[in-house]
């Protein structure tokens, strides 16, 4: 087993460990949770069928690794909804600078709903090259990411 380490900015600091779910394209929050938005679903399964990496994967409690989020500004509200329903990822790791939609949604959830998604950004493109879905990822308070390859 190999272990790789990356360092980013702890945007929403915290510790987390879990299984990685990796998207190499922008994470479309609304498309991912479209059933939560439209039909009030309690599922954290990704519904974005344009996202071949994550479609059909249950993201609840996972370490979601993405370039950044994209799509509708209602994404901020959706972060609040999935946090309230406790179907949010355990952590979200951004290769790029966090975008305002994710920043607003997650901060609102943290400060107003007493829920959290540990968030680290600016990990760089190399991070997404290194991490694979199914790897074990450990996130530390200081933004250090340790990746333990699944095989």
């Amino acid at each position: 087993m190999t272990q790789t380490t990356f360092k980013g900015r702890p945007a929403i600091p915290g510790s987390a460990e879990g299984s990685a779910e990796v998207s190499h394209i922008g994470f479309n929050t609304c498309a991912t949770y479209v059933d939560v938005l439209i039909s009030g679903s309690d599922s954290g399964v990704c519904q974005d069928h344009d996202n071949k990496d994550l479609y059909g994967h249950d993201l609840a409690g996972k370490i979601v690794c993405i370039p950044q989020t994209i799509g509708s500004s209602s994404a901020a509200t959706l972060f609040m909804i999935i946090m309230e329903k406790n179907i949010q990822p355990k952590a979200m790791l951004f290769a790029n600078h966090i975008d305002s939609l994710a920043a607003c949604g997650i901060l609102m959830g943290v400060n107003w709903l007493d829920k959290t998604i540990v968030t680290v950004d600016m990990l760089g493109d190399d991070f997404l090259d290194a991490v694979k879905t199914g790897d074990t990822v450990k996130v530390s308070e200081d933004g250090t990411i340790e990746i333990q390859a699944a095989s």
Binding site: C30, D48, S74, T77, N96, L101, A103, C104, G124
Partner: protein, 463 residues
């Protein structure tokens, strides 16, 4: 996920662009870059420390944390008055309504009376079938709750739902240099560019909290450096470009970056508030543009000229062929791509009085020339109540004829109407790129729409 297929998704920027959505690119940012902490004034620190109550403390902590994520070192006092994008009450915005209720129960209000985006439906001027209305009522089942909360939180009055809040008739017009914390991409774009006020592109939630504490984090489009252009747009068209086309082209190219547009001062006498509104809305819907400067036209460009261009800027040339390509790139998302249009929607963002007058006279003239006394297809011109009143006062004869010919003036949001699940499969023809981007509606130029209104059919070669 394809564009416009979210089954009722409501909000802005469906183009899935990878931007910060603040109107200030952070491409290339590294975690090793300096991460400044906010320096608060004693008064702000007291709020932060909870000396003015738990709710204000939470609001302040959220705004400060948000600002620090984008490199802000201080807060600035807001001027003018707020504008909010949230205008639909549904279960989808439940957490937001919950937070609004906490703020309202705590007796908090925005620093000045605010306006809000138009509601999704107008049952009086744009009625639907009873069956559809029942379905719509289920979707927007919390409209009254939102309206009530808005009133308690400081909404100016119950007529103040319009995305073009900055028009004089609406009266929420900031002054140049005012710091704002607005949401609604087209309004942000207009007040930044055409007026020279300063607001970032704020998301739902952070807008209300900033406006409750009356302060916003200083970064991005609030700063002089954030308002510098990194793109030079050279317009070389043979005539005044259609605002929707040039806006669309710029948005697709620069995404969220600030641009400096040259070559438009040739047409200065034809560039009015309506033009800048529509062009800007297209830049903000096909991209995530919060600010552009237009040489010889917009206030900061008039004062500073090309000094607004950063060194190392990129150049994008727009000519007739480029705009033609943009138009041809628009997809036809109607279920029946060659089906006959069912409605004509004019005005998104909400029309100005001049635009309503232009379309009103155009429709009346075309119908009378054709010897018709009724429009051949349901036709709607969207504007705020204030714009509608001003138009009717200034053009009583045209307004009376329009009503008789079957043209209605709804006050709701055409884009949201088109993306509401029970209506989203209607074949809507529009003059708005924004409505096109956010729904399955198709964009057409004025001549084609006029023929459609008179005959019920699109001209040959256009359909």
């Amino acid at each position: 996920m394809s564009k416009n297929q979210l089954g009722g998704q409501i909000g802005t920027d469906p183009n899935f662009t990878q931007t910060t959505h603040t109107g200030h690119s952070k491409a290339g940012a590294k975690h090793t870059d300096a991460q400044p902490k906010m320096k608060l004034t004693p008064e702000e620190q007291d709020i932060y420390d909870g000396k003015k109550g738990d709710l204000l403390q939470k609001a302040m902590k959220t705004v400060v944390a948000y600002g620090e994520l984008f490199g802000s070192e201080k807060l600035v006092d807001l001027g003018g008055a707020p504008h909010m994008a949230v205008s639909w009450g549904s279960d989808g915005v439940e957490p937001l309504l919950k937070i609004y209720k906490q703020l309202s129960d705590g007796g908090l209000k925005t620093y000045a009376p605010f306006t809000a985006d138009p509601k999704p439906m107008d049952p009086v001027n744009l009625p639907v079938t009873d069956q559809e209305q029942a379905a719509v009522d289920k979707i927007y089942n919390r409209m009254d709750e939102l309206a009530d909360l808005n009133k308690k939180l400081g909404m100016r009055n119950q007529n103040d739902w319009s995305c073009a809040c900055y028009l004089p008739e609406m009266g929420n017009t900031p002054k140049r240099g005012d710091y704002l914390s607005w949401s609604e991409s087209s309004a942000i774009n207009y007040v930044n560019s055409a007026i020279g006020a300063r607001t970032n592109r704020n998301s739902m939630g952070i807008d209300m909290l900033s406006n409750i504490i009356g302060k916003a984090p200083l970064f991005g489009l609030l700063t002089d450096e954030g308002r510098q252009a990194v793109w030079l747009i050279e317009v070389k068209t043979t005539k005044l470009p259609h605002p929707e086309m040039i806006g669309s082209a710029i948005g697709m190219k620069v995404m969220e970056d600030v641009s400096y547009i040259v070559g438009m001062d040739r047409f200065k006498s034809d560039i009015d508030a309506g033009y800048l509104k529509d062009m800007g809305a297209a830049t903000a819907s096909n991209g995530a543009v919060g600010l552009y400067h237009m040489d010889g036209v917009t206030p900061e460009a008039i004062d500073k000229g090309r000094d607004l261009l950063n060194k190392g800027y990129q150049t994008y040339v727009i000519d007739d062929a480029e705009l033609d390509n943009i138009y041809k790139s628009y997809p036809d998302l109607w279920d029946d791509p060659h089906g006959t249009p069912q409605r004509v929607f004019l005005g998104c963002p909400h029309m100005t009085v001049d635009q309503m007058t232009y379309w009103g006279k155009r429709i009346v003239d075309a119908l009378e020339k054709a010897g018709k006394t009724k429009v051949a297809i349901p036709t709607f011109m969207f504007g705020s109540i204030y714009i509608k009143d001003a138009f009717e006062k200034q053009n009583p004869d045209v307004a009376k004829k329009l009503k008789g010919y079957g043209v209605a003036i709804p006050v709701n949001c055409p884009m949201m109407w088109c993306s509401t699940p029970v209506e989203m499969n209607e074949r809507v023809a529009t003059n708005s790129n924004k409505t096109r981007v956010y729904s399955k509606a198709r964009f057409f130029f004025d001549d084609a729409l006029t023929e459609l209104i008179v005959t019920g059919k699109l001209p040959a070669g256009v359909a």
